[in-house]
């Protein structure tokens, strides 16, 4: 197997909680990310799903170096990028770019579209010769499906979907190898979401991009991802290919999450089993001992409070192989199909 383009090991981000104005005293920490491992291969899409507060956005920020990890490594082509600074950091940044969630706040309202996309070349003059920049910006607009003549317009003159295309063009300007997309379509209308997802799909093939795709919408993540990691309270609790996670989940949290997704099929509503979790997600300042999901888990036993389950293939499935044999951080992992099987009702082919 070739070396992964990105490898994350033991990634941790704790935000200190302090008291006092001039003399600060630490009184605790928000454990936003608390030991995350994954890898990303060239040309693949890794989806990271989880509910709000699970730390997925913090992971994204650390990948593009907007936040410094408290501990852990992020290896880009074998080199740990978390300790870089100055020129070396700038060089790495060219290769890992980000697409933001909110198309309304991620573009500077006082800059023209041309300046927003072209700023990459001001910061990295070596990426494009001066006379060539305007032409490149036009080309990028064309690539993301916008009229290249919109160069001199301001962001507010565009709709949400078009703004997101501008954000994507900015992310592409430096021809990165990796794009980290943090909820790139969740602020868009349903009919526009599909346009942007298709665009991301097409760009991946065209530019041989690797994506880390972060979202809370499980259907979108399945659509776009080759592999999926499910996050809960700062950790990945289950990871595998899309089929392994969606059709053969073994972690109870994944099962609950999948069973709760409303499926656009009224026929399925009577015979669908829904796992309703009790209570709320615990505060990241006060994470339960042992398995962090145990406070809401219907299977929890004494062992779960004492022993942290490792993210590995559970012993029960290790020998038999098959799609259930993937990494799952649960002492009592069991396969359970919660998504109704394909083709049980619903509608057929596309229009026109």
């Amino acid at each position: 197997m070739p070396e992964p383009i990105l490898e994350v090991r033991g990634l941790v981000k704790h935000y200190p909680l302090t008291r006092g104005i001039l003399l600060r005293k630490q009184i605790g920490a928000v454990k936003a990310v608390d030991g995350v491992d994954f890898h990303l291969d060239r040309g693949e899409t890794l989806g990271i799903v989880g509910e709000s507060g699970c730390g997925k956005s913090t992971v994204a920020k650390m990948l593009v170096n907007l936040e410094r990890p408290t501990a852990g490594e992020i290896r880009y082509k074998g080199e740990d990028i978390t300790r870089l600074s100055g020129k070396a950091l700038k060089a790495v940044r060219r290769n890992i770019q980000m697409v933001f969630q909110d198309p309304y706040t991620s573009l500077n309202p006082r800059m023209t579209v041309g300046d927003i996309i072209g700023e990459a070349y001001d910061i990295h003059p070596e990426a494009a010769p001066k006379g060539d920049r305007r032409r490149r910006v036009r080309e990028l607009l064309d690539v993301v499906g916008l009229n290249p003549e919109y160069l001199n317009r301001y962001p507010h003159q565009f709709s949400g979907g078009q703004r997101q295309r501008i954000g994507i063009a900015r992310g592409l300007a430096l021809r990165p190898e990796i794009i980290v997309a943090d909820e790139p379509v969740s602020a868009l209308d349903v009919s526009v979401q599909a346009q942007v997802i298709n665009l991301l799909d097409r760009l991946q093939k065209e530019f041989d991009l690797s994506y880390v795709f972060i979202a809370h919408d499980l259907s979108i993540v399945r659509h776009i991802s080759d592999r999926v990691g499910v996050m809960y309270l700062g950790r990945i609790v289950e990871t595998g290919t899309d089929t392994e996670i969606y059709d053969h989940p073994t972690h109870p949290y994944t099962q609950a999450l999948l069973s709760a997704v409303p499926v656009p099929d009224p026929e399925a509503r009577e015979d669908r089993e829904r796992i309703i979790l009790a209570g709320d997600v615990p505060s990241p300042t006060n994470i339960p001992s042992g398995c962090r999901f145990r406070t809401r888990c219907w299977k929890a036993r004494e062992r779960c409070a004492l022993e942290v389950p490792a993210l590995a293939v559970p012993a029960a499935f290790r020998d038999e192989g098959g799609p259930a044999a993937h990494d799952s951080a649960c002492h009592f992992a069991e396969e359970k199909r919660v998504v109704p099987a394909e083709g049980s009702g619903g509608h057929g082919g596309g229009p026109g």
Binding site: S106, G145, L146, Q157
Partner: protein, 324 residues
């Protein structure tokens, strides 16, 4: 996306380009470039500032207020251009007299020519207003902006210092500090206003820098590798400067009247200096017998303050592309 009852964003999105913009996105599905652009010839590259200037030149409010201010500046520098007389040459015998040929505004209580004094008074008021606002704005926004951007220890220190300055009563402070200074120029007054005024702007600047800093576009630029100075100059300052401009122009008016107040109390400028403030306070007791002596300097003061506020308003609007 959460629906709002009415979406100004979307309503604006269609202006002047409705059909064409829609075409642009629809074509995306088929990967062909968007249709022909009807919006005129190939546009030259533009920046925020050139666009703002383009707007301002067509804005009558800006043009009128700029003309008034230009006029004020010219007569502050060369008052003798339109007022040949001497503001200090007074004849008590003419005290409180009305309009005479060659003396259109009449005479004040000391028998001085109100027209000449009003023209000469502009110099003091404009100098105090403009220079102290400039000083306050530069000092306040640099300190407040840097504190807001970098945060941390120095930010806390600065916040405490501004708290201390806010606790100083302005008039009392003026009485104490200025009474020990004997110089009869505008500089001590300006210095005093800057000393007490900067915390106000510093707070505004700090707040708006912190707001601007949190926007995703600043994060996006940082992810591209932008340096701190680029973040501050390109992304944060243009988006944080508007409140500072607004507050500064309003403050300019209050500084001009603060000068008048201090002069009235005898610690600002003192006669024989000429200032609207001095003249207003001198004429106030005689408002029944000689209202003209109060009217002209007060009117000049009001017009000046209004002109600066309207100018600030126009500049703020021009710097906001959302209103374009």
């Amino acid at each position: 996306m959460p629906e709002q009852p009415y979406e100004p964003e979307r309503a604006v999105a269609g202006t002047g380009m409705g059909g064409q913009m829609d075409l642009g996105a629809s074509e995306a599905a088929t990967l062909t470039p968007a249709g022909p652009e009807p919006a005129g010839p190939q546009e030259r590259p533009r920046s925020l500032w050139s666009d703002a200037w383009h707007d301002l030149r067509r804005n009558p409010v800006f043009l009128i207020s700029a003309l008034v201010i230009l006029f004020l500046i010219v007569i502050s520098l060369w008052p003798s251009l339109i007022a040949p007389g001497n503001p200090l040459q007074c004849e008590l015998s003419k005290a409180q007299d009305g309009s005479r040929p060659g003396h259109p505004f009449g005479y004040d209580g000391q028998g001085c020519d109100v027209y000449t004094r009003t023209v000469y008074g502009a110099r003091t008021s404009v100098a105090v207003g403009v220079l102290s606002t400039l000083g306050v704005a530069v000092l306040g926004s640099v300190l407040g902006g840097l504190a807001g951007f970098f945060g941390g220890f120095w930010d806390s220190v600065l916040s405490r210092i501004t708290d201390v300055f806010f606790a100083i009563p302005v008039v009392l402070g003026g009485l104490v500090l200025l009474s020990v200074i004997t110089s009869n120029t505008v500089w001590p007054v300006i210095g005093f206003i800057v000393l007490l005024g900067w915390p106000q702007i510093s707070r505004i600047a700090r707040g708006s820098v912190i707001t601007a800093k949190q926007h995703d576009y600043v994060q996006a630029a940082r992810a591209l590798g932008a340096s701190n100075s680029r973040l501050l100059l390109r992304h944060i300052t243009p988006n944080a400067v508007a409140p500072v401009i607004v507050v500064a122009t309003i403050a300019l008016g209050t500084y001009i009247s603060l000068e008048a107040t201090l002069s009235f109390l005898g610690v600002g400028l003192k006669p024989p200096s000429v200032s609207w403030g001095i003249d207003i306070s001198a004429a106030a007791p005689y408002i029944r017998n000689a209202p003209h002596a109060l009217l002209w300097p007060s009117g000049a003061l009001a017009v000046t303050v209004l002109a600066f506020i309207m100018l600030g308003d126009a500049v703020r609007d021009a710097l906001d592309p959302k209103l374009r």
